[in-house]
Symmetry: C2
Subunit: 163 residues, 2 copies
DNA sequence: GGCTGATCTAGACTCACTCCAAGGTTGGGG
DNA sequence: CCCCAACCTTGGAGTGAGTCTAGATCAGCC
C-alpha cells in the first residue's frame, strides 16, 4: 500500500510541477488518512511520522496543494481551516454545533450542483459552498460532558473515543 | 425616519432585555444602513456618528445582538466577520473572489430551504448556510487595478466608487 | 558529484478578536 | 428624583491562526 500510494503521490506532485519532498508526502498522507484535519492536526501527525517538520512547511504545503487543486480547504465559522483530498466533486459538509464533528454530505442536486442561485445578479458563479449546521446524533441524544470537549479530540485524533 | 426607526429599535432592544444605549443604537444603525459591514466598518461609522465609542463596545454589542438573534453574523473564508439585520429568512450570499463584494441571494428552494441534505446521517439540521463564490460583473468585465483594491473600499464606504 | 532554484526552518510579526481590571456613566424601575 | 445594575471607557495583555522573511538545506538535472 504505502509503496504504491507513494508512487502515485510522487506522480501527482510532479504533474503539478512540485518537487517531491518528505514533508509534502507526510502532509498528503496525514490528509488522506483522515479528512477534515486542521493544519495543526496535520502538523502533529506528520511530525510524529517523519520526525521533523516545521509548521511553516505544513502551511506552505497546504497552500501550495490547495492552489493546485490537489487539496480542498474548508473554513467553517469558528474553526481553523480544514483540509481534505476529496476534490472536484463539490460535496458539502454537515457540522455539529455542539461537538464540531464534521461529516461529508453528497450534494443533493447532482454533479454540478446548486451552482444556480435564484438570481445570480450577473455574477459568474464557480462554486456553491454549503455548510449544514445542526447537532449530531450523539449530541442530540445526550449532551454529556464528553460532547463539550469533543472538538478537542480532533487533536488527540479521537483515538479512544469509544472506551 | 430616524425618530420612527429609533422608537422601533428601542422596543426591539428592550424586548430582548437589553438596555437602550447610544452605542447600541449607533451600531444598529450602522448595520441596517448597509448590510455586511465588518466590526471595524461599524466601529468607524458609529464613531463618526456619535463621536465616541470604543471598539470594545462594538464587539460587545455585535456579540450581544447576534446572540439574541437581532443580527446575523457571516464569516466567509478569508474575511473578518460581517453583520446584517436581515435575519430569519435564511437568505444566502454571493461573493466575488476578486473584489470581495458580497450580495444577498434569495434562497432558491423556498422558505425553509435547503434544510434537507441528501443524507443527514441522523443529524438534526437547523441551518443550511450557502455561499456562492464567483466573480462580479465588474470584475468579469475588466479586472482593472481598481478591482484589486476594491475590498478595501468597504472601509472607505465605497463613497466615491463611481467617479 | 556539483549546481541552483525550489523548499524548509526558526523566528518575528499581523490580524481579528477576546478577556481581563478598575473606574466612570447611564438607563430605567421604584 | 434616586439608586444601582447594566453598561461603557481606557488600557493593556493574551490568543489562535496564520503570514512574512532571511538564511540553511535539499531535490533533481547535468
Ligand atoms: Mn469533505
Ligand atoms: Mn445578507
Ligand atoms: Zn455533536
Ligand atoms: Zn468583483
Amino acid at each position: 500500500m504505502s509503496r504504491e500510494a507513494s508512487a502515485e503521490t510522487d506522480v501527482l506532485l510532479r504533474r503539478h510541477g512540485l518537487q517531491v519532498t518528505a514533508q509534502r508526502l507526510a502532509v498528503l498522507r496525514a490528509v488522506s488518512d483522515r479528512a477534515h484535519r486542521t493544519a495543526d492536526d496535520i502538523y502533529r501527525v506528520a511530525r510524529a511520522e517523519i520526525g521533523a517538520i516545521s509548521s511553516q512547511a505544513v502551511y506552505n504545503t497546504l497552500t501550495a496543494l490547495t492552489d493546485k487543486g490537489i487539496l480542498r480547504r474548508i473554513q467553517p465559522a469558528g474553526s481553523p481551516a480544514r483540509y481534505e483530498d476529496r476534490v472536484g466533486d463539490n460535496h458539502h459538509h454537515l457540522i455539529c454545533r455542539t461537538c464540531r464533528r464534521m461529516i461529508d454530505v453528497d450534494c443533493a442536486v447532482g454533479d454540478t450542483p446548486c451552482l444556480t442561485a435564484a438570481d445570480d445578479s450577473g455574477y459568474e458563479i464557480d462554486e456553491a459552498e454549503v455548510i449544514y449546521w445542526g447537532r449530531c446524533p450523539e449530541c442530540v441524544a445526550g449532551p454529556r460532558s464528553r460532547a463539550v470537549t469533543h472538538h478537542k479530540e480532533t487533536a488527540r485524533e479521537e483515538k479512544d473515543r469509544r472506551v
